[in-house]
Symmetry: C2
Subunit: 84 residues, 2 copies
DNA sequence: AGAGTATTTAGATATTTGTCTAAATAACTA
DNA sequence: TAGTTATTTAGACAAATATCTAAATACTCT
């Protein structure tokens, strides 16, 4: 739960997640969408991956990232317990 | 959205929110539940309040805090857009 | 094998954050 | 009014975080 909230507590990472909702993208394509260096984006991707919010797959020299929506169930359930 | 994720990105604050789900509590009662100084708890309450997750009402010399679940709608909606 | 491209790792740095103690503010009580 | 209790504000500090550049790794292609 901690890693999930931590991962989403950053505007850049939330935007990455929103991008990946539309379609899978490789690291370079993701980085293009931001005015942030590639190493920084790589770091954000790592945090999202540790939180299980995204998965990655090596495709030749590219690394393709995909959204993993199943983990969001946990988040929704936590929130719903608060709303009774 | 930013302040909401920031507010929830802390174990102590999430526990405060869970406590307030059960019943309204004043600042001192909340602080009793943690091994953290009262000023620190006061700071956490301030962050939760800025995120609109809780409200406060002065009652004599006490300040009573309540959970505001309506703001959680925004959070759920954001998550649901990701799940399509 | 060597050059070029994609991505990550390492190390540095400035900012943010959670915590503390001490002091200030506010309200009750004798 | 003076003392006590409840809470917040102020200021300091260590740890965490987002970012950068430079270098390393991994893959492609001629």
């Amino acid at each position: 739960m901690n890693s999930l909230f931590k991962a989403l507590n950053d505007e850049t990472r939330r935007k990455i997640v929103e991008l990946l909702k539309k379609k899978d993208m490789n690291a370079g394509e993701i980085a293009e969408q931001f005015n942030i260096s590639k190493p920084s984006i790589s770091h954000h991707l790592d945090i999202l991956k540790r939180a299980d919010l995204i998965t990655s797959e090596k495709k030749g020299q590219f690394v393709e990232y995909s959204l993993n929506t199943s983990i969001l169930e946990d988040l929704i359930n936590w929130i719903l317990t608060l709303k009774k």
